[in-house]
Symmetry: C2
Subunit: 712 residues, 2 copies
C-alpha cells in the first residue's frame, strides 16, 4: 500500500508532503515510544523526505575518486570530505587520529616453476580488463597498490605447493587423511567458506611456510554470472585483497592489545613486530587472481582433489605432487611495516534528554578502502552522509535528540577493525554510557535488504524497515520478506530472518568487547569485485544501484535507526526474544554434545537461560505498560547486555568477552553462538565445556538480576 500525501495518519506536518515524501503509511505505534504517532512520527516524516539520490551519487563519486587505503593522503582527503559534510549538517565534528601498525607493500613477487624447472607464471599481474563492454576507466590509476595481504610479514620463501581447497579445518583434516603434509610447503587456498585470516592461522599451525589465496571463478567469477565489465562478477585478473590478521584472537592494532593506539603512546608501551604480536602471521601471505593461480593449479600433480574441492577452472584439480614431480612456488614479499596515522571522523549531536542526555547512541561505517571501495565501504558512507543530511534538516527544524548521537567514520577497518577498536578501547567510560551501536559497512551492492542484530534489537530493525519505501514497491520490510520467501519458496515468511552478529565489521568492539547492543544493515546483490580495483564507481552504477535509489533507501533506514534509538522513551530492546534465542542455542549445543557422547550437566545453565527469558518477558511487559520509570528501565536494559560479558573473556582470546556472540575461532566472519560452550564441545573438551557452561550460567544470572531489579 502506498501512503498518499494528506491521507494516512494525520501528523500536522504538511511540510513533508511539500518535500515530496511518499511511501508506506507511518505506524501509530512503534516499540520504544509511548505515543509515536503524536511525537516521533513528525520527525520521521520530515527526515524521510531529505535523503537525496543525486547527493548520494555525488558523495560516492567524491569518496571513490582515488584509491584511499588507510593512512594514505587520499584517505585523509576523504576524512576531510566526511568531516565537512558532518559540520555542514551541524554535528560537532572532530578528526581523531591514531598511530597504528600497517604493512604497505614495497615489492611483491610470486613466481612458479614446473617440476622440470620451466617457469609457469610470474606475478602478480596488474588488474586489467579489456575495452569490451565499456572497459574500466579506473584500472590504470597509478596510486593503486599491488594486491597484498594486510598483516602479512615480509618473506622470501620457495617451496612445493599444496592445494587445500578453502583452507577450513575440515579441509586440512582431509589433506591429512590423504597423507598430504603442508609442512614446509606453500599452501594455495581459494577464498570462501571462512575468513581469510583463519586459512592462514590453520596453515601456519600446520607448519606451512607461505600461503597464497586466490579467487576461484566457481565462487565469485564466471561460474556465478558474467564477469565485469559485462556483468558484476570477478574478472580473471581481479584480486581480493584483505587482512589476514588472526582476528578471532583480537582485532585492532596488533601492537596495542586491549588499549588504544593514541598518537602520543610511547613506542615502549607497544608490542613490537616479532615480539609476541599474536594476531600477526609469521609466514608470508599474498592474494592472487585466478589468472595468476591457473597455471600453478593446472601444473600441479599428485592425487585428484576431492570432488567438492574442484573449482571452476577448465582442468581437474590436484592436491599437488611432492618430490621430483613437485610444482615449486617462490614468494618474495617486501613489506614496509610501520606505525602510520589513521583518522576516524567523529560527529556529535548532544542529547537534551535530562538524565539520559549523556547516554550515547553510536552509528558508524568505515571509510578506508583497499582501492576505490565503491561498494565497500563508500556505498555505506554515502548513505550515512545522506542520513546525516537528514539529521541536519531536523536540527534546523528544531529537533534535538534525547540521547547524544555520535556518528563515526572509522578508518583502517580493512586492516582489522582498527579505527573502531582503538576508539572503543580509548573510551571505556563512554562505553558505559552507550546504549547501542548501529553499523553499516557494504551499504549497497544490490537490491536485497539484509540485517544482523542482537536478538533484543530485531524488532527495532524490523520496525524501522516498515516505514521506508522500497524502490521495488511497498516497504523495505515487505521486499525483504519477499526476498527470503523467494529463496525458499516452500517456507512462508511472515517476519524476515535477522542474522546473528559474527565479525568482519566495526560492531565487533562494541558488542563483543564492550557489551553494547548492536545492529548491522546492508542492501545486497551479485558482487564479485569485492576488495579489487574494480569495486569502483563504474562498477557501482552499472551493477549495484544506477539511480542511487537504494542509497536513498539505506540512508533512510540507517537514519531512522539513529533517530529512533536516540529518541526512544523506553529503549526498544526485547530481552524476552533474547532469552528465547539463548534457550534455543543451549538446546542445540546440548544435542551436539549428546551426539558426541560428551557427558555434561546442563541443568544450572538451562535454568539460568529460562530465568533470563522470563525476566526478559516480564521486562517487556513493563516496557509496554507505559507507566514505567523510563530512566531506571533504560539503565537496566542497557546494563543487561553488559552483564552478558564474561569477566575473563573466552578461553585463549580474552579480548572477546561476550558470552553469547563471537566470531568463531575457525570461521572468523561467521558468528559462533554461546561460543565458550560451543567451541569446547566441538573440541570434545568436557572439563572446559562444563566450566564454560558455568560461566554462561553466571552471565545469564547477572543479566537476569539486572532485568529483575526494575521490579516485577
Amino acid at each position: 500500500m502506498r501512503w498518499v500525501c494528506g491521507l494516512g495518519v494525520g501528523l500536522g506536518l504538511a511540510g513533508s508532503c511539500l518535500l515530496g515524501q511518499s511511501g508506506p503509511a507511518l505506524p501509530a505505534k512503534v516499540f520504544g515510544f509511548r505515543d509515536f504517532g503524536a511525537t516521533e512520527a513528525r520527525w520521521d516524516k520530515a527526515f524521510l523526505a531529505v535523503p537525496d539520490p543525486a547527493l548520494a551519487r555525488e558523495h560516492l563519486k567524491r569518496l571513490t575518486a582515488a584509491p584511499h587505503w588507510a593512512s594514505s593522503p587520499e584517505d585523509y582527503a576523504t576524512a576531510l570530505y566526511v568531516a565537512d559534510r558532518f559540520k555542514a549538517a551541524g554535528l560537532e565534528t572532530t578528526i581523531v587520529p591514531y598511530r597504528v601498525q600497517l604493512n604497505r607493500p614495497v615489492k611483491i613477487l610470486v613466481e612458479a616453476f614446473a617440476a622440470d624447472g620451466a617457469r609457469l607464471m610470474t606475478g602478480p599481474q596488474a588488474e586489467h580488463v579489456d575495452g569490451t563492454d565499456g572497459g574500466d576507466p579506473y584500472q590504470n590509476d597509478k596510486r593503486i597498490l599491488p594486491a597484498f595481504s594486510g598483516s602479512s610479514p615480509s618473506g622470501d620463501v620457495t617451496g612445493t605447493v599444496v592445494y587445500a581447497n578453502y583452507g577450513t579445518l575440515a579441509d586440512f583434516k582431509r589433506l591429512q587423511e590423504m597423507h598430504v603434509s603442508v609442512r614446509d610447503k606453500i599452501v594455495l587456498v581459494r577464498y570462501g567458506a571462512n575468513f581469510r585470516g583463519v586459512k592462514v592461522y590453520l596453515a601456519q599451525q600446520r607448519g606451512a611456510k607461505g600461503v597464497l589465496i586466490y579467487s576461484d571463478p566457481a565462487d565469485d567469477g564466471f561460474a556465478r554470472g558474467d564477469a565485469y565489465p559485462k556483468g558484476p562478477f570477478r574478472p580473471e585478473s581481479g584480486v581480493q585483497r584483505g587482512s589476514v590478521q588472526f582476528l578471532p584472537i583480537f582485532p585492532g592494532d596488533p601492537s596495542t592489545p586491549g588499549y588504544a593506539s593514541v598518537p602520543e603512546l610511547p613506542d615502549a608501551e607497544r608490542v613490537a613486530v616479532g615480539k609476541g604480536q599474536v594476531t600477526q602471521p609469521s609466514i608470508p601471505v599474498n592474494p592472487l587472481s585466478w589468472k595468476d593461480a591457473e597455471p600453478i593449479l593446472e601444473a600441479m600433480g599428485g592425487a585428484s582433489a576431492p570432488a567438492n574441492w574442484q573449482g571452476g577452472l577448465p582442468f581437474n584439480y590436484h592436491v599437488g605432487a611432492s618430490g621430483r614431480k613437485a610444482v615449486k612456488v617462490h614468494m618474495r614479499l617486501v613489506q614496509d611495516i610501520a606505525l602510520r596515522t589513521i583518522w576516524d571522523v567523529i560527529g556529535k549531536i548532544p542529547g537534551v534528554g535530562g538524565a539520559e542526555k549523556d547516554d550515547l547512541v553510536v552509528a558508524g561505517n568505515h571509510r578506508d578502502a583497499w582501492v576505490f571501495g565503491a561498494v565497500d565501504p563508500s556505498s555505506g558512507t554515502a548513505a550515512m552522509l545522506e542520513a546525516v543530511h537528514g539529521l541536519g534538516t531536523l536540527l534546523q527544524a528544531g529537533w534535538r535528540p534525547k540521547r547524544t548521537l555520535v556518528v563515526a567514520s572509522w578508518d583502517a577497518e580493512e586492516e582489522g577493525l582498527i579505527g573502531s577498536v582503538e576508539w572503543v578501547e580509548q573510551h571505556p567510560e563512554l562505553m558505559k554510557r552507550t546504549v547501542a551501536y548501529l553499523n553499516t559497512d557494504v551499504g549497497v551492492s544490490g537490491p536485497s535488504f539484509s540485517a544482523s542484530a542482537v536478538p533484543s534489537l530485531k524488532e527495532f530493525v524490523s520496525d524501522v524497515t516498515k516505514e521506508v519505501e522500497s524502490p521495488a514497491g511497498g516497504s523495505v520490510h515487505e521486499q525483504w520478506r519477499l526476498d527470503q520467501e523467494r529463496a525458499h519458496p516452500k517456507e512462508p515468511v511472515s517476519e524476515p530472518k535477522i542474522d546473528a552478529l559474527g565479525s568482519g565489521s566495526d560492531y565487533t568492539p562494541f558488542l563483543q568487547h564492550a557489551g553494547v547492543a548492536a545492529t548491522d544493515i546492508g542492501s545486497n546483490g551479485p558482487y564479485g569485485v569485492y576488495h579489487s580495483a574494480f569495486d569502483n564507481f563504474n562498477w557501482f552504477v552499472k551493477n549495484a544501484d544506477p539511480n542511487f535509489l537504494y542509497e536513498q533507501q539505506q540512508a533512510r533506514v540507517f537514519g531512522l535507526e539513529m533517530l529512533h534509538m536516540a529518541d526512544a522513551d523506553v529503549l526498544p530492546m526485547d530481552y524476552g526474544a533474547y532469552g528465547a534465542e539463548v534457550v534455543g542455542y543451549l538446546s542445540e549445543v546440548r544435542a551436539k554434545a549428546e551426539e558426541k557422547g560428551l557427558k555434561l550437566d546442563f541443568t544450572k545453565t538451562q535454568q539460568a537461560a529460562m530465568r533470563f527469558e522470563a525476566a526478559g518477558v516480564a521486562a517487556r511487559v513493563r516496557q509496554d505498560a507505559g507507566n514505567v520509570d523510563a530512566v531506571r528501565m533504560n539503565r537496566a536494559l542497557k546494563e543487561t547486555e553488559v552483564a552478558l560479558l564474561l569477566p575473563n573473556g573466552l578461553p585463549g582470546r580474552g579480548w572477546y568477552k561476550h558470552s553469547v556472540y563471537s566470531p568463531g575461532e575457525y570461521t572468523g566472519y561467521q558468528a559462533v553462538v554461546i561460543p565458550g560452550v560451543n567451541e569446547a564441545v566441538t573440541l570434545g573438551d568436557r572439563a572446559r565445556a562444563q566450566s564454560q557452561l558455568q560461566g554462561l550460567a553466571d552471565a545469564l544470572g547477572r543479566a537476569s538480576a539486572v532485568l529483575e531489579s526494575v521490579g516485577r
Copy 2:
C-alpha cells in the same frame, strides 16, 4: 575370511583345489536348493575355478580389435568369435539374423555463426587426443564412423540456438518461465539426468527444429577427474554417440512394433520410414564433444542460465539471445536409413530336469558397440565367455542343467535393444516357459559391484555374490556392502541395496514386455569415455581392470547366476519381498497424491498389495519347507511375474505391460515404479490415476491368486 583349500565345507571335489580356487567358504544352505551343500556346491566349486583372467583378456582384445557397429562386417566377425567360443564349450549354437532399420551417417555437418555472421565452429571434429600420457593407439582407425545419433533422420536446418541444460521436463518448464521459446530453434542440451531420447522427445514436442547433445566437462570430463589418456574421464574431443529413439514408447526395430523383424518379413508388413514410426524423432539430432560445443556456448547471449545449469566450461552459460543478437547453428545430416542384417548368437544347453527340462533360463549381453566398445559391452561379453567356459568345463565333468539354459549375445542393443526385443517378440511361446532373464551389459568399468533386479530375485543375487571372491579381499558381497557404506558413512549397510530395473539394456523386453523376472549386474568405476572412440582396449587396461581380475569376478558371478537359476530345486524367488516393495511404492505415491491435493481412493489397491505380500510370504514359507511340490510351486512362481502384466499395457505405450516396473516416460533410463499410477499422479490426472489404481489392483489380485493356488 578366506576359504582355505582342504578346509571349509567338505565337498569331496578336491579337483577344484588342484585348480587353484580359493575364496569365500561356500555356504551350506542357499535359497532355492534343498541341500545345497550336498548337491550344487560341488558344481559351484568346480565352476568357480575356471574363469581365467588371461582368457578374458584375450576375449576382450579380440572383441575390440575393430569398431563393430551393429550390421557391420566387423560386427559379424564378433558374432563368429562368440559362436566359436559357445560351440567350444559345448553349447548348441546358432547365429540368428534379423533385418532391422538402422541409420548410418553419410555426411554430418554442424556449423555455428555469431550474431555478426562470423563463423564460430565447423564440426564435428574427429575424436583425437595428443601423444602425452601414452596417447591413444586406436583413434585413427579408418572404420570409425563419424559421431552420430541412432534414430536421427536426415535434415538440413538452420536456426537460433537455445541452451536447455539437461533437457529434462523441469528444464523446459524453467525456460518457459524465463519466456524463452524453443519453437523453431535448435536446442543445445548436455548429456545427463535423463535418457538422451527423452531430451529429443521433449524438444520435438515443443517445436524445436533440431537438437545437439554435448558432453559437458562438469558431468563426465575434467571436473570429475583427469581426462583420458591421463585419467578415465572424457577428453575435450570425446563424443557420446547413442540412440535417440523414443524408447519409453517402445524399443526395438521401429518398423516392426510388437512383432519380430525376421529376415523373411515382407516390407509391406513393416511400418515405413515417415509413415507413423512413433519412436523415431522427426527432427535432426547429433551429439557433440565439448570442444565443438564450447565456441557456441561461449558466444550465446541472452539471460544468464540458472545457477544449476552452469557447466564446467570457463565462462558464464547463457540461454541464448534471440533476434539480431542470436547465435545460429546449421545442421546438415545425411543419414542412410535402411534395413540391415544384425546377428544374435544363441547358445543352448538342454535341460534334463524332467517336467521342467524345457523351462528356460536366459542369460544375455549385447555385443554390438558404437565404436570399439571395450567397456560397453565387450567387458560384459568377455565375462560371459569365461562364464560359458566354466559351463563347458562342467559339461565335460558330466553336469547337465535341470532347466534349459540359453546364453545370448544380442546385436543392435545400442540402436534400441533391437536384438533382444526382436528375439523376445519372435518367441512368445518360449517366453511362457522362461523362468528368468539374467543380464549384463557394462561388465566391468571398475571395482564397484552393482546390481538391479526384480524384488523377488534380490536375495538370489545377494546369495551368489557371497560365494565369489573379490580382488579387493573377502567376498564380492562384502566389498559391495563396504562400497555402499563408504558412500554414506553415517548409514550402516547390512545388506547392499539392489536397484529397480528401468531401461537401457536387454532385460527390458523380458521383464517389461513378457513378464519374465530379471536381474542385471556390473562392476563399475570412473568411466568418462562412454560411447566414444576412446572406450577401447587401451582405456580399459589403463583404467578399468589392468589384470582382468574383475573380469574373472564378473564371469564367476554371472555364471553362478546361470547355474543356480538353471539347477534350483525350487526357484529362488521371494514374493514376500516383492509384495513389501509394492506396499511401499503405494505409500509413496499416496503421499505424492496427497501433496498434490489429488483425491484418490487407494483402498482396493492397498488391500490388493497387502494380499499380494501375504501370499508371497506364505509361498516363501512353503518354498523353504522342503516338502513342497516343486514343479507346481515353480510354475506358480514363474507365472506370478506374468500375472503382474497389464493386459493393455501402460497408457499411450501399450508395449510396456508391466504394472510395477517401466522406464519413465520422461526419464528413459530410470525406473518408474507402479508407473501407470505414478505417471498419472505426476500429470495430476485424477481419472487416469484412479483407473490405473484399478488396473494395478487387478494385476496384484491375479498374482496373489497364482501364489495362493499352490495352497496355504
